[in-house]
Symmetry: C2
Subunit: 215 residues, 2 copies
């Protein structure tokens, strides 16, 4: 079984971001040096990351930008459209709905649900917030692939149970709890504090000298 | 130079979360098995993570919860309070201000700034939003350690330049751009799409069989 390294995967959207920018600027080729410089990381890290996509570079020219974008999208699994429902239209949910780059990554948020009567029926970044009480009726016939959970810690497990019952197998969980799910369900838990842990470790390293974090 | 692994650092807040829960339940000892089960990851991963803290376990009992919490906080660099200013009180900024766990992690958001007149003077989770135009005057004498940037991609570099001029050396950047900063400034860039890349890779793996992601 081949293991994909999480840090490599996490860097891929940033490489893509830079490649799209370069393409917009009319460039045809990109090198690992371009990407490493943009991210301010070691060239060797970027070389290893890009090697994971299996794409061969062109001597002296680097990679064809179009080919590299395709290779990264295939590597991540973003070559197919990933339809999703977003549950919880609070501050974080709203922020995600406004995140325009998701379209680039083939994440398509098709529906938004909330329990708050003040929010139901309102529009957030072009999405109409629907009543959570109606989720089974609305999604039963054609459940999306992914459920994005932006609900409170206390509600998260119950909401997960609901979407799993609807046949959704992939959950992107922003609540600060680990969910209990059947074996065939995959949860990606987003821990905002995780990035803060990396920053704190970098601060500690900078102030004590010596130790440093990987990224 | 000792390298701290980013995935290990990213898991630490979740271990802490579980340890606080167990302490609340009146427990005194925790084992790696408890933590691994909670996160639904391999025991060996948790064993390696906890070993990084340098704390010795008690045979048959596991780790004293109080000692393990302290060891993790020290390992990450969360033993000291980290004062911060948050810039950009939009949806994402508001979500971060409402994230109660930050207090646990010794992140203290002391001030909030925005350019939007409709937001200046309003309260968000107990913080009064101040006028960005006044940031130099307000923070000049005692700049906090960290600036949290929740501003637009187009504003991010200018805001970074402003806080760096004030003497802030650590930036937690949620904008989707890589910042250009002097060598003595450390930027931790938070890429929401990074977690989505990990999820997409897991979906691809689950649907094709075989390959899997690390986390």
């Amino acid at each position: 079984m081949k293991i994909q390294r999480t840090p490599t995967l996490r860097r891929m959207p940033t490489y893509l971001h830079k490649l799209y920018l370069m393409r917009q600027e009319g460039k045809t080729y990109a090198s690992c040096t371009d990407l490493a410089k943009y991210m301010n990381i070691d060239l060797i890290v970027t070389r290893k990351d890009i090697a994971m996509t299996g794409l061969a570079g062109h001597r002296h020219y680097g990679y064809k930008i179009d080919e590299l974008i395709d290779a990264i999208l295939r590597y991540i699994g973003w070559a197919q459209t990933l339809p999703a429902t977003l549950i919880g239209a609070g501050a974080l949910g709203s922020a995600l709905l406004g995140y325009t780059d998701f379209t680039t990554y083939n994440l398509r948020i098709e529906s938004v649900f909330d329990i708050n009567p003040a929010k139901i029926g309102t529009q957030i970044h072009g999405h109409t917030v629907q009543d959570m009480a109606a989720i089974e009726e609305r999604l039963r016939n054609a459940p999306p692939k992914i459920a994005i959970l932006c609900v409170s810690n206390t509600a998260a497990q119950q909401v997960a149970d609901t979407v799993i019952k609807l046949g959704i197998r992939y959950i992107w969980n922003f609540a600060n709890v680990c969910l209990t799910v059947p074996e065939n369900v995959i949860v990606q838990r987003e821990v905002i504090a995780g990035g803060f842990a990396v920053l704190a470790a970098k601060i500690k390293a900078a102030e004590s000298g010596g130790m440093t974090a990987e990224e």
